[in-house]
Symmetry: C2
Subunit: 150 residues, 2 copies
């Protein structure tokens, strides 16, 4: 997949993140793509649903519904932030071969571990995503700490 396509799908993940922000939630979004088509999208639901497991990537997997191992094996997951241990674990369980993040300055998840397990992990290093998180964290430091158990 070329970078134009990656930027296109990341833009959808950023839309999800902004939707989360507009709901008063933690602005992290995610998109699951198979064969060039979006099969799931979601955003962090800690505030909106009071749910500690619905990080952006998890909400995306949930919304994509039950898929076969064959489907997951062709997928790319996009996230506006470096996937944490939980989300990386879900990516590993479902053997998603390719992970694209918008940034890892705000938080660096289990990138090295995913790479050690053979996954392709790409960082697009987008200022827009960093800015979204910077604004959110400056206003909601406790909420952010809760989301990463700090």
């Amino acid at each position: 997949m070329d970078q134009t396509q990656d930027l296109f799908f990341m833009n959808v993940a950023l839309e999800e993140a902004k939707l989360g922000a507009s709901e008063g939630g933690i602005p992290i979004g995610s998109v699951l793509v198979i064969d060039g088509k979006i099969v799931g999208r979601g955003h962090n639901q800690r505030v909106q649903q009071g749910d500690p497991i619905l990080h952006g990537e998890m909400d995306c997997f949930k919304n994509a519904g039950r898929l076969s191992a064959k489907d997951y094996a062709k997928a790319t997951i996009y996230s506006t932030l470096s996937p944490c241990d939980m989300c990386s674990g879900a990516i590993l369980l479902y053997k998603i071969p390719r992970v694209v993040m918008a940034e890892n300055e705000t938080f660096k998840g289990a990138e090295d571990y995913m790479r050690s397990r053979g996954l392709e992990v790409i960082n697009l290093d987008l200022n827009e995503a960093k800015q979204l998180m910077r604004e959110f964290i400056s206003k909601n430091p406790q909420l952010w700490n809760e989301d990463i158990a700090e």
Copy 2:
């Protein structure tokens, strides 16, 4: 915590697993315990809710709701089966220091990785849990494969 207590709480996790079986679901249950009290319990919801992220442990975390890092730091999570990459990742995210499983013969998850990250991981090796999974898998091999993306 002594083994009598571990067996007591694991019995609750096994009740959750059996509840899942009675609903036609995958019979894996989990309990989250803090300061000797159950703060969350749950079971695999793939069939019941069509949800690919609600493994037993994840359903348990979800039902426990939003907790502080301070709470998670005192917790033990019980699972009737060795936690997979996703569930181990959630355990690592929330820095749960102690993991007790009923068995790992049916499936061995990320036990070694959790230990390498400093967690105490205990296997009670209970025949009742193995029997539950044996019966389920013999009748529903495809469903089980879907749950672990095989």
